[in-house]
């Protein structure tokens, strides 16, 4: 599924968060938006998944405008959003969290197939299936949050800072799993402050600064760009 964001403007209480950004994630591609804190990365994802209503501009899924649709209706259109800070349901078990990812579906057989497929990515979750989500480590909660999103059979997966607060080894693991998910045909839109990780995980990148896109290109070319190196890779 192809995602097109066209001249998107979002204001929070009359303060501009996005000043007209445009980018495309073609079907089956993987892209990242990198940028510093407050650049508008989360706001972009939140607009795509319907949590924030844009002031102007368009969001198109396979050519159809979706920027007026409520968040709980967008899931059925193929968008899943792994929010910043994991946001798992802490008093529910791992299994219950995953089942809520499949909330919009009724077909039990298909749901248990999806469950097995999530466990094939995240073996740890299977071991912890009956545990309350609050007892999981940060990395496991992140895996649960991604697994929950996969249960909705997304065509586009939005991820907001999945590496935040995690140990380097786990960050590596999550990067590999995201590449697996992408290879299985899901369009991946990754938002990261960890630009190094992001550019190693996806094919194409956009640099977001003060609510505007200032640079874009293949992940490779961005990783070699002097400005990106200095501002985001710390080289």
């Amino acid at each position: 599924m192809e995602l097109i964001v066209n001249d998107l403007v979002v204001n929070y209480h009359n303060v501009a968060a996005l000043r007209g950004i445009s980018f495309t994630a073609s079907s089956g591609s993987s892209i990242t938006l990198i940028g510093s804190n407050g650049a508008g990365k989360s706001t972009t994802l939140r607009s795509i998944s319907g949590l924030v209503k844009p002031s102007s501009g368009e969001i198109l899924l396979d050519g159809e405008r979706v920027d007026h649709i409520e968040a709980d209706q967008l899931l059925a259109r193929g968008i899943a959003h792994v929010p910043e800070g994991r946001r798992v349901f802490k008093d529910l078990t791992v299994l219950e969290n995953l089942m809520l990812g499949a909330y919009i579906y009724k077909d039990k057989q298909r749901i248990s197939q999806d469950l097995e497929s999530v466990f094939s990515h995240f073996g740890k979750l299977k071991e912890r299936i009956g545990q309350q989500a609050r007892t999981l480590s940060g990395g496991e909660q992140q895996m649960l949050s991604i697994g929950r999103a996969l249960m909705s059979r997304p065509k586009i997966l939005l991820l907001d800072e999945p590496s935040l607060g995690l140990a380097p080894l786990i960050v590596q693991e999550i990067s590999l799993i995201l590449q697996e998910i992408h290879r299985s045909g899901v369009t991946v839109v990754l938002v990261e402050q960890n630009a190094d990780l992001a550019l190693k995980t996806v094919e194409r990148g956009y640099v977001l600064e003060n609510g505007k896109i200032t640079l874009d290109g293949s992940a490779q070319s961005l990783a070699n760009n002097e400005h990106v190196k200095k501002a985001y890779l710390g080289i």
């Binding site: 998944s49 319907g50 949590l51 409520e70 968040a71 709980d72 209706q73 899931l75 059925a76 899943a80 959003h81 929010p83 946001r87 798992v88 349901f89 802490k90 008093d91 529910l92 219950e96 089942m99 809520l100 990812g101 909330y103 919009i104 609050r134 929950r148 909705s152």
Partner: protein, 289 residues
């Protein structure tokens, strides 16, 4: 010794009412972030339905209990649609609306029942079960506690074993994350207030033959429900049930050995102490935002 056992039995029976009344307050607060001050009045309307339809007009008790549940549920749904939904995201607005509703319902009750002394409803179940020669349990109370436990059991099953129950709890934990799973928060709000109001209506209907019915009886109910909710941990349903049992036993003991007024005062003191020493209550968790 007999007095001790009798008091424990009385306390346990009382806990059923507290739990039924408190659960709705907790559900609505958890899902909608609104403190529904009119919740005690929902219990009162349940009791008035029994008085008016059953005692005054002779409709059989059990049918009237069902009627009371339906009526109060409908009332709850109307409150959600016309008061709380427009006030989404404004907890203070919702609270003020619910206080307005509280007065409206009291006036309606006064209009229907008139002023004057409290109404009494003769117990539809007569007779008393006598255990060990001296512990007395009127059949009316036995019936009430059985129905209350049964209703709470169904609610527990719904919330812990069904996908829709998980969705209700998910919304109370994290509204936005729930919406991202395709869960309609409006639908869940309707369920929460519907179920909460049904429980309140049931509590009122069960209480009616055992208490004085008047337009202001909701006060005592809401005070008990607040104490139980805060001691149990705001937003925790198991906490509310556990706290209901503890508080009912405590209140009954103090009432039996001292007086009802002292019982209510010390209940409120305990609530304040819990707020100071352990603000999350027995079962509550710290919320990190």
């Amino acid at each position: 010794m007999e007095l001790l056992i009798q008091t424990v039995v009385n306390g346990l029976i009382q806990s059923g009412f507290y739990a039924l009344a408190a659960i709705g307050l907790v559900l609505v607060f958890g899902v909608m972030r609104v403190v529904n001050f009119a919740h005690g009045e929902l219990v009162m309307i349940g009791a008035y339905t029994i008085w008016f339809v059953h005692a005054q007009n002779g409709v059989p008790y059990l049918i009237t209990v069902v009627l009371a549940i339906l009526l109060v549920t409908a009332l709850g749904l109307l409150m959600e649609r016309f008061l709380f939904r427009p006030m989404t995201g404004d907890p203070l607005g919702g609270l003020i609306c619910s206080i307005g509703m509280l007065f409206i319902l009291q006036v309606i009750a006064t209009y229907v029942g008139g002023e004057g002394p409290s109404k009494q409803v003769p117990p539809p179940f007569e007779g008393t079960l006598v255990l060990m020669d001296s512990v007395r349990i009127p059949y009316q109370r036995l019936f009430s506690i059985t129905v209350a436990v049964f209703a709470l059991g169904i609610l527990w099953y719904f919330l812990t074993r069904t996908k829709f129950g998980w969705a209700v709890r998910a919304v109370s934990m994290d509204r936005e994350a729930a919406a991202l799973q395709g869960i309609s928060t409006i639908r869940v709000s309707m369920i929460a207030i519907g179920v909460g109001a049904a429980m309140a209506g049931l509590a009122g209907a069960l209480m009616a033959p055992l208490t004085n019915i008047n337009p202001h009886m909701g006060h005592n109910v809401i005070i008990a429900a607040f104490i139980v909710t805060i001691v149990g941990g705001v937003g925790s349903l198991p906490g509310a049930v556990i706290a209901s049992v503890l508080y009912a036993l405590f209140h009954t003991f103090v009432t039996t050995y001292f007086s009802g007024t002292i019982a209510t005062i010390s209940g409120l003191v305990i609530m304040v102490l819990v707020l100071i020493v352990r603000p999350t209550g027995i079962m509550g968790h710290r919320v990190s935002e």
